[in-house]
């Protein structure tokens, strides 16, 4: 039950992937590939399909049409052990309000088959030691977010998926988050995060995607002038 020593991130391939919710098209025939070790920011307005894309990548949902492949293996054929390689921070925290910080992490550590000492490590790494015995209910938004990150990081996944992780965080906290993610990226992990706000720095990203109405509107490498271009597209006439 020990995690793989070498964090190998899977190569992810989407072929004509669509996701429908009855009449609503959340994703519309996406063709995408994510190589191991990329740092991707997915931009888009609310409802553009960012969350759905990340949930598909996290194997929480299945595409309605098209193929989603991890290292050439179809997503619906992966065995449960594969989920050890991915960590997901969702819009909600996935934390139990009536448990303490430490208890939440211990619970998830047991589920992932991680030893209890891993919890102490993660608490230290995320600078949550002095809050270890606080109830999650009493934490601030920023601390909750940090704990959610700690939860996703318990098993040191090779692929990190984060759905608008910076929402509700103040500027210094956001900076710290991005610095930490950049660190993960340097270790060779794949980081994919979504955002609807350009005030967040795009700086650590190597690649930027823009979703509009479930379609891919832009896909290119990050560059210094990109934020200005994207700003215009994100804020264009409201739909």
């Amino acid at each position: 039950m020990t995690p793989p020593a070498n964090p190998t991130s899977p190569r992810i391939l989407l072929r004509q992937v669509s996701k429908f919710f009855d009449r609503f098209t959340a994703l519309d025939r996406l063709d995408l590939a994510f190589e191991p070790g990329e740092f991707v920011v997915v931009l888009g307005r609310n409802g553009a399909g960012k969350t759905t894309l990340l949930r598909l990548l996290a194997l929480l949902q299945q595409p309605s049409e098209g193929e989603l492949l991890y290292d050439d293996c179809a997503a619906d054929r992966l065995d449960s052990a594969f989920r050890r390689r991915l960590g997901f921070v969702g819009h909600e925290s996935f934390l139990y309000d009536e448990l303490t910080v430490e208890e939440n992490l211990l619970f998830y550590a047991r589920l992932y088959g991680e030893p209890p000492k891993r919890v102490a490590e993660v608490l230290q790494e995320m600078a949550l030691e002095d809050r270890a015995r606080s109830l999650v209910r009493n934490l601030s938004r920023g601390l909750k977010q940090r704990l959610a990150l700690a939860r996703a990081w318990l098993h040191r996944p090779a692929l990190l998926l984060l759905d608008e992780p910076a929402t509700g965080l103040d500027a210094p906290t956001r900076e710290r988050l991005h610095a930490w993610l950049a660190g993960c990226h340097r270790q060779g992990r794949t980081v994919i995060l979504s955002s609807h706000d350009l005030r967040e720095s795009l700086q650590p990203a190597t690649r930027v995607l823009l979703l509009e109405d479930g379609r891919l509107a832009f896909d290119g490498p990050n560059s210094p002038e990109l934020p200005r271009q994207m700003q215009a597209r994100l804020q264009g006439a409201p739909a």
Partner: protein
Amino acid sequence: MRGRLLSDSFHHRLSLALLGVAVLALPAAWYYVFLVAPTERTMGTIQRIFYIHLPSAFLAFLCFFVVFLASFGYLLTRRLAWDRVGVSAAEVGTVFCSAVLITGPIWAKPVWGIWWTWDARLTTTLILFLIYVAYLMLRMYVTESDRRARLSAVVGIIGFVDVIIVYKATDWWRGQHPERVIGGGGLDPRMWLGVVWAFFGLLVFAALLFLQRYRLESMRAELTELARRARV
């Protein structure tokens, strides 16, 4: 279109064929049952209700078995067509189950002297009815079709397994159904033929209902898909 099992023209031809057979078979069955089959000696003419009662019970059970199979079909393949089979069979089954529950007391009052008794089969049929009403209710309160299909498939499987245990339980609990009278070998062969006729007629009728119901569900699904494509 995704998940289409029957082509339009095939559906129309099949419906017409079933309608034709039903139009011939049902009146023939009722003619036989009411005018040819002999009157039962002790119960009198009220016994003839049993030609509707028994085939309806069979058909209800058959329909719920189809729901059970379709539920597996959906969970294994994730094709919504299976879900449409499931809901259609559940509705037709519920109709026949109601027929059983209505004809039962009509027969029981003059024969047993009471409308209702907690007999094993009566109770089982009532529980069966409640389970599939709950199944249909559940569908009303889940909006998204994939989720609805998934949850109702789970209930479709559990419900059927449960029914078998319900029967066992109520059988031990109470048993006073006229098994010997209608299930045993002492029945006039013409009575048996009546049952077979009625069963055949009602089976064709049930198939027709099922087909139309399935068709309606398919059309709804297609409408949803068209609306999605048109981005309405």
